[in-house]
């Protein structure tokens, strides 16, 4: 192993008498930081645990002994493994087992145990009285050494003598040890007079820092050990040499208490029921270093050696630093080895709770389950697991048995074959079936009969007991090697020379390979119908099952099951289901004419999303329709188009109303004609087409628009057919042709008024217009990029359309006009938008409407908002003009932030919920605030609960840097910029604009662990997100607006308007880019952004500091501030990639130290101001 690695962590390695195995040590040390080696260790450990329970032989100690020794090797710090518990358990288990009392292994374990004691002599004495190890030389040797260590040669020699008295074996060993001992004593007295030695020795041992401080003591301990070599220096297993030193100086009161307890315990336990634990010792080591000063025994350890890279980059005192958690800094933290480990430990998300809380034995109670098995070793097993061990063992044995049987068979068959070659085929076949016996469960034969009973009287169908494929394996079809006797001979030889498993794999020809049940691939090994439920043709399945299935009643539901995703959407509208039922009958006549199908077939790739999946076969004929009618729940399905149809009609009316007074041009007239044509057969196609046309002409028609992708993608097959086929192709194409000619003009005549009408009508039809947001999300994320495909589609649908009309809308994609919406975050606008929401906020389970006025919150008051939620207000942690933030504790004592405001929280609640449902990557959840519960009171007052992030807001951190006059390091600014860009990119991907990205709206989440970081994409991605975007009240849900919408805000007094806002230009996502720039500015300069325009180019007024890479930053500011138009929003992904590339040019260490420094700043913040997190005005 790497020597530097060892250097850095040797303080964490407990010395062991017998030495450590380098390979183990390396893995073990690695495991502190690498999840992989840790999991390896865990696996190994599980193996031992398993072995403990599995063991059936007559030497159970063996397993224990190996296990404990492995633990000693594998966990050099003895911290994770809880070695003491293990040893304790083992000793307790065999303490009454006479045959082990003189067993060297058992005695060695005892010695280990004793070495962990504070007072080994008592324990040795006790063990000896109990008769353990009394005939074991090893025992006396270590006992004597204990005395020798403290310089009590007399006692030591007595122990040796005792050993001989008891006839300890092997006597030669003991004699040798005694001789060596006597030599040492002689040499000791010969070379140095006693007091001189004392004087020279005290403090000479560099490693025994504490012993140097020990006052010279009276009595037995007066003579400090004779020789500081060998075992004395090395220390004994599991014990730092320190502990010995501690024992010498028993002055500090806290220590004394522990000692006394321990001694008392040891003394009283004549019965070895209580194997003395090294608890006191452990407790001591885990104590905070600070307490040592209380004992007055030692100075504070020297300030951490400034080898930390921190020191070089940041002008901060290191001495006060808590351990930074980085491997490199360990040399400075010698005395904190325990803490170092805590910090370095791979983060595991388990609750730190003891395996079980063992109660003291109660003589009146007796557990009636095999507790010793359940809680054997250091782990627990459930009864089922214990049984499964047994089962797997049996299965294994069975396997082996069959294997040997097979081989025997082969042997005999071989000889038979040699005699009469003709029979070989049969035998081999026999062999192959025999092999299969263990492939299928062994009980198969047993249940074969019962199986028959089960199936009696039923028509012969696929029986529940399918022969495995192997059994059906046609052996004859494969060229059998046995035809050739020589080949067979060769194979037999091979069989015997290899293990069975090998030959399974090697000679595939002879035996079909056993299916691997554990194989991750879903190869269905046993069943003939190895298909997933959705594959079989539904129609066929149905017909197939109907006559014979015993559960015939449910067969309709069977299909429902397969369509479950489809139903989800309808469930949202279950309240309207009745209506559907009513309409159902009327709906049937619109059976799709078959030619529609052809039309669908003709579609090519570009309109893929609009047509059925390839494998879908629409129930096109009338005969099949009633069949589908059985599907009760799927009746809901056509409902949506139907609704839409109604709506479409109404909408058409709206359009007319708008257009009529406009003195429509000829083209408009055309359009009217078109719509009227379409209206005659009320159909789904109508709705779809209308929307489509409108889309094409860029009419504002958000509802239909949002429906289009929704329907196309997420509605299932049937729906699709239902609505696509309901209108004949002819009508459709003709209407398209008509309209296409007037397209462009129509677009121009569209007015703002239309927009408003549309929106108004939208809100009326709110719940229809938006389907389940969840399913819609991915569709919408395509955003404006979809423009192109849409036009292509149009070409397709229009059939013979020429390309010319297409060009119009394409060329002017960014023309504003009808798409402009003013003040998207205006309260009334939000209300109307909320009306459109598919799943109203009020229906969320964690949204409560309370018809009372909002309660007044006071510190230390308890609020009871609903049953089961009792919050105790702690303090105000921030305020904004219309909101106050309180920190409260719930009944479990978890901190919760209450946002208390006198405006409705509905919108924020909605948007947070939407974002969460649209997020595809669960890791990004933490990048956006989550509202646990929302409460709406009378007069639009509201409260929202969010999780409390103790690290506070980003602006506080920046302020802290500023206050300390420390420049926010570039690497950190870069990192957070990437973080923000990433989050904003994801947010935009969800079609949501945040609208007020600023340092005060960013909370600092968990600071990632950057130790052992190296620059690669994967690792870097894992660091994100750190910051959390909050204050979502200004968010804009783009899916509620038409695709090409732009916003125009007037008279925003806000100083943080983006450039477009200031200039009265239309804007969309720019606002967030501006926000990113703003935040960057705060990080780099520590002040709010100030911009100005020169030659039409906006730039920040300040110059990026020279030690920053000004090129990159200037470019970034430039591209974020100078967005050409709503249609040329810079690609955040490429920005992010560029930044990341730049990030990777930094040294990892620099980043690590910056993060570590930041952590300290956070801690300081946290400590200092008792969390007076101030949220600045929004």
């Amino acid at each position: 192993m790497d020597s530097t690695e060892l250097d850095f962590s040797k303080e964490n390695i407990q010395p062991v008498k017998e030495g450590r195995i380098a390979s183990y040590l390396s893995t073990a040390l690695n495991s502190q930081c690498h999840a992989k080696s840790q999991s390896e260790l865990l696996k190994e450990r599980e193996k031992f645990e398993l072995a403990l329970r599995k063991y059936k032989g007559d030497d159970p100690l063996e397993v224990w002994y190996n296990y404990i020794n492995w633990v000693i090797q594998a966990y050099p710090s003895n911290e994770v493994a809880d070695l003491t518990t293990l040893i304790h358990k083992c000793l307790a288990k065999f303490k009454d087992d006479e045959r082990y009392h003189q067993d060297v292994r058992y005695v060695k374990l005892w010695i280990k145990c004793v070495e962990m004691q504070r007072d080994p002599f008592e324990t040795y004495d006790m063990i000896h009285k109990h008769g353990i190890g009394s005939k074991c030389a090893e025992f006396y040797k270590s006992w004597a050494e204990e005395y020798e260590k403290i310089g009590d040669f007399k006692q030591a020699s007595k122990i040796y003598a005792k050993g001989f008295d008891y006839g300890a074996q092997p006597a030669s060993d003991l004699a040798k040890a005694q001789r060596n001992f006597e030599d040492r004593v002689a040499r000791h007295f010969a070379t140095k007079p006693e007091d001189e030695w004392m004087a020279s020795n005290s403090g000479s041992d560099g490693r025994r820092v504490l012993s140097a401080l020990a006052p010279v003591k009276q009595g037995r301990d007066e003579n400090v050990g004779s020789l500081r070599t060998g075992a004395a220096i090395a220390g004994s297993a599991g014990v730092l040499k320190q502990s010995r030193g501690l024992q010498l100086q028993q002055k500090p009161p806290p220590l004394q208490i522990f000692t006394d307890q321990q001694v008392g315990e040891a003394r009283n336990t004549v019965h070895l029921d209580k194997v003395p634990l090294g608890r006191a010792h452990d407790r001591e080591n885990t104590r905070k270093p600070g307490k040592w000063t209380i004992g007055g025994s030692a100075k504070r350890p020297a300030p951490a050696v400034a080898t930390t890279p921190l020191a070089s980059s940041l002008p901060f005192k290191i001495s006060e630093d808590p351990p930074s958690g980085k491997g490199i800094s360990t040399p400075g933290g010698l005395c904190y080895s325990q803490n170092v480990f805590k910090q370095r430990k791979v983060e595991r998300d388990d609750f730190d709770c003891p395996l079980a809380i063992f109660e003291p034995p109660d003589p009146t109670k007796k557990v009636m389950y095999c507790k010793e098995k359940v809680y054997s070793g250091g782990n627990e097993f459930s009864l089922e697991e214990i049984r499964a061990i047994r089962y797997f063992e049996a299965a294994e044995e069975e396997k082996k048995k069959v294997a040997t049987e097979n081989q025997e068979n082969k042997l005999s068959s071989q000889s038979d074959e040699n005699a009469e070659g003709g029979q070989s085929l049969d035998l081999m076949e026999d062999l192959s079936t025999r092999n299969n016996n263990f492939v299928t469960p062994s009980n198969k034969g047993k249940y074969g009969n019962r199986q028959e009973v089960f199936h009696e009287g039923r028509p012969k169908g696929p029986s529940s007991y399918h022969p495995s494929p192997m059994q059906q394996f046609d052996f004859m079809s494969a060229p059998s090697p046995t035809i050739n006797t020589r080949a067979a001979n060769a194979m037999m030889n091979e069989l015997f020379s290899t293990t069975f498993t090998q030959c399974l794999g090697d000679s595939l020809l002879v035996m079909p390979q056993e299916p691997q049940p554990s194989a991750p691939k879903f190869e269905i090994p046993c069943d003939d119908n190895a298909t997933f439920p959705d594959l079989p043709d539904k129609e066929e399945m149905l017909n197939y099952q109907m006559p014979k299935a015993p559960f015939s009643i449910h067969c309709s539901e069977n299909i429902l099951f397969e369509q479950s995703p489809l139903n989800d959407e309808n469930n949202c509208k279950s309240d309207e289901a009745e209506e559907v039922d009513k309409n159902w009958g009327a709906h049937i006549p619109f059976v799709p004419p078959p030619k529609d199908e052809e039309n669908f077939g003709g579609d090519d790739d570009s309109s893929k999303e609009n047509c059925c999946p390839n494998d879908y076969q629409p129930p096109a004929t009338k005969e099949k329709r009633p069949l589908a009618g059985i599907l009760l729940p799927s009746r809901n399905v056509p409902f949506k188009p139907l609704e839409e149809e109604d709506y479409a009609e109404e909408k058409e009316d709206d359009v007319k109303d708008v257009n009529a007074p406009d003195n429509a041009t000829e083209n408009n007239g055309d359009h009217h004609k078109a719509t009227s044509v379409k209206r005659q057969p009320p159909s789904h196609r109508l709705a779809w087409e209308t929307s489509f046309e409108n889309e094409m002409y860029k009419c504002l028609n958000d509802v239909a628009k949002s429906e289009v992708p929704t329907l196309n993608k997420e509605m299932d097959d049937e729906n699709e057919v239902g609505f696509s086929c309901s209108k004949s192709f002819k009508t459709m194409s003709s209407s398209i042709t008509k309209k296409s000619s007037g397209g462009i003009i129509f677009k121009q005549t569209s007015t703002m008024r239309m927009v408003e009408t549309e929106i108004a009508s939208d809100s009326r039809h709110g719940h229809e217009s938006n389907s389940n947001p969840l399913s819609r999300a991915p569709l919408c994320s395509q955003g404006r990029d979809e423009n192109k495909p849409m036009f292509n589609e149009r070409g397709l649908w229009g059939g013979g359309l020429s390309a010319q009309p297409l060009a119009g809308p394409c060329e002017t994609p960014n023309s504003d006009g009808p798409e402009t919406v003013e003040n998207p975050t205006d309260q009334s606008m939000l209300e109307s938008l909320l009306g459109k929401v598919a799943l109203p906020v009020s229906r969320s389970s964690n949204f409560y409407r309370i018809t009372q006025s909002i309660p007044y919150l006071k510190t230390n008051d308890a609020v009871n908002l609903r049953r089961g939620l009792k919050l105790t207000i702690q303090r105000v942690i921030g305020s904004t003009p219309d909101a106050k933030l309180y920190l409260a504790l719930n009944s479990e004592g978890e901190p919760i932030v209450i946002k208390y405001q006198h405006v409705s929280c509905e919108w924020e609640f909605y948007i947070v919920r939407e974002i969460r449902s649209r997020l595809e990557d669960p890791r990004m959840f933490s990048a956006f605030s989550n509202i646990l519960e929302g409460y709406l009171f009378n007069a639009d007052s509201s409260m929202m609960m969010t999780k409390y992030l103790p690290n506070g807001s980003f602006i506080d951190l920046l302020n802290a840097y500023k206050k300390k006059h420390v420049v926010f390091p570039e690497v950190l600014a870069l990192f957070f910029t990437i973080d923000i860009v990433n989050s904003v990119r994801v947010l935009h991907g969800c079609n949501v604009i945040h609208g007020s990205i600023r340092p005060e709206n960013l909370l600092i989440g968990d600071v990632p662990d950057v130790s052992k970081l190296s620059w690669n994409d994967e690792q870097f991605r894992r660091l994100l997100p750190v910051l959390q975007l909050i204050n979502m009240g200004k968010c804009i849900d783009m899916t509620l607006f038409p695709r090409n919408v732009c916003f125009k805000s007037t008279s925003q007094e806000d100083q943080h308007q983006c450039i477009e806002m200031q200039n009265g230009k239309p804007w969309t996502y720019q606002i967030d880019l501006y926000g990113i720039a703003f935040t960057m500015h705060c990080m780099i300069f520590g002040e709010f952004m100030d911009i100005s325009c020169q030659n039409g180019i906006w730039n920040i007024n300040r110059k990026v500091p020279s030690h920053f890479n000004s090129g990159i930053w200037n470019n970034l500011f430039h591209s974020l501030l100078n967005v050409p138009s709503c249609d040329y929003i810079p690609d955040l992904l490429s920005i992010q990639a560029k930044l990341q590339e730049f990030m990777f040019t930094f040294e990892v260490d620099e980043f690590m130290s910056a993060i570590a420094f930041m952590k300290r700043m956070l801690e300081e913040l946290h400590r200092k101001e008792s969390n007076k997190i101030t949220f600045k005005c929004v």
Binding site: S382, R387, Y391, N443, Q451, M541
Partner: protein
């Protein structure tokens, strides 16, 4: 017969069973499994009949139709390549999912009587639950490989894998809540709305190993908390957000009371079930008894006579008329006490009246 509130529904129909084996004189399920019963489940209320499925350590899952008369008719059987550890129904009662020691979960389509693999783990699968929500349907599986996985049964890879701190020992689902008990006394509540995610971890109210967990509902019949059974004779009632901290409590059960030798024997709680109508609960234990409890009144409603062997699992049918419990060895005393010759039983009991909360009367 199950619908009528007959008092102890004793019948002499099953003369073959010695009275010691059926001390409660309940209806015996014909052709019971040949090895310990690991799981029991009644068909959901989406179909009028009652079907009972039972998974066993013999690797088979059996299905019976339970008639109103108490008669059971063996319907079908499917097997897997290892002992079954859990079974569950799909919401429409057309499919049964079987989790087994062979690290797989299979879907048994009752209509076609065919099975298909729907889930895989790296270790035996201890629990499986069918989740039906407005936005998705999936199968949740918990395994000893320390993961919880969610499967769209039509695709071979899981929709979602959640790592558990330890091996999954027990789990229950009642949308939108799921609770998982793991080794090391881990207890994690998940919320299934939207995307399943950890809701919170709860410090175990029990001192010893978790063995079974069952979600109960509040008066508004939305899931409010769960009952957790321990390997050492204790059940904890735990609310997710208790109206009052004192609402959480534990109670002792499945212990012998004062036997002559002076010991109190403490047995493992093997299963807990809540009555779908009354909200009262039944526990079964290694002592071979089942007990009915009223958690709100904190009283015991009834305790059965001891069976010959431990009761491994229990369940109620969808309308709460039938209580099924399986008598077979639960391995609680290790393999040494396993007697293959002892017959396994599944009994059915008309229970509607017995489980009525006492406060109402």
């Amino acid at each position: 017969m199950f619908n009528q509130a007959t008092s102890l529904g004793g019948t002499s129909t099953f003369a073959t069973t010695p009275s010691t084996a059926n001390p409660m004189r309940d209806f015996e399920v014909s052709s019971p499994p040949d090895d310990s019963v690991s799981s029991l489940a009644f068909s959901p209320g989406s179909i009028p009949q009652n079907f009972l499925i039972a998974g066993s350590w013999d690797g088979n899952v059996r299905c019976w139709e339970v008639e109103q008369t108490g008669k059971t008719i063996p319907k079908s059987m499917q097997s897997m390549q290892g002992p079954i550890l859990d079974v569950c129904w799909s919401d429409d009662a057309t499919k049964v999912f079987m989790a087994a020691c062979d690290k797989m979960v299979k879907c048994w389509d009752l209509n076609s009587n065919q099975t298909v693999q729907v889930a895989a783990h790296d270790a035996p699968v201890k629990t499986c639950h069918w989740i039906k929500t407005p936005s998705y349907t999936c199968l949740m599986t918990g395994s000893w490989d320390k993961t919880l996985k969610f499967w769209d049964t039509r695709t071979p890879s899981p929709m979602l894998t959640i790592n558990l701190p330890e091996r999954c020992y027990c789990a229950d689902v009642d949308y939108p809540m799921a609770v998982v008990g793991t080794a090391g006394r881990g207890l994690i509540v998940y919320q299934l709305e939207g995307k399943p995610q950890e809701f919170k971890r709860i410090e175990s109210p029990l001192k010893y190993q978790h063995r079974c967990v069952s979600i109960f509902r509040d008066k508004k019949s939305s899931p409010a908390g769960f009952a957790l059974g321990s390997v050492e004779g204790r059940v904890a009632i735990q609310y997710i957000s208790p109206p009052n901290p004192k609402d959480n409590f534990t109670f002792k059960c499945h212990r012998s009371n004062g036997t002559p030798n002076g010991y109190q024997d403490i047995f493992a709680v093997n299963d807990i079930c809540f009555h779908p109508v009354h909200g009262t609960l039944a526990t079964v234990g290694s002592d071979g008894r089942f007990s009915f409890w009223d958690k709100d009144a904190r009283t015991k409603l009834k305790s059965s006579e001891p069976m010959e062997q431990p009761i491994t699992r229990c369940c109620f049918n969808h309308n709460g008329q039938i209580f099924a419990y399986s008598v077979s060895y639960d391995w609680s005393k290790g393999h040494e006490f396993y007697n293959q010759l002892k017959k396994n039983y599944i009994f059915l009991r008309s229970c509607y009246e017995e489980l009525k909360p006492r406060t109402k009367t």
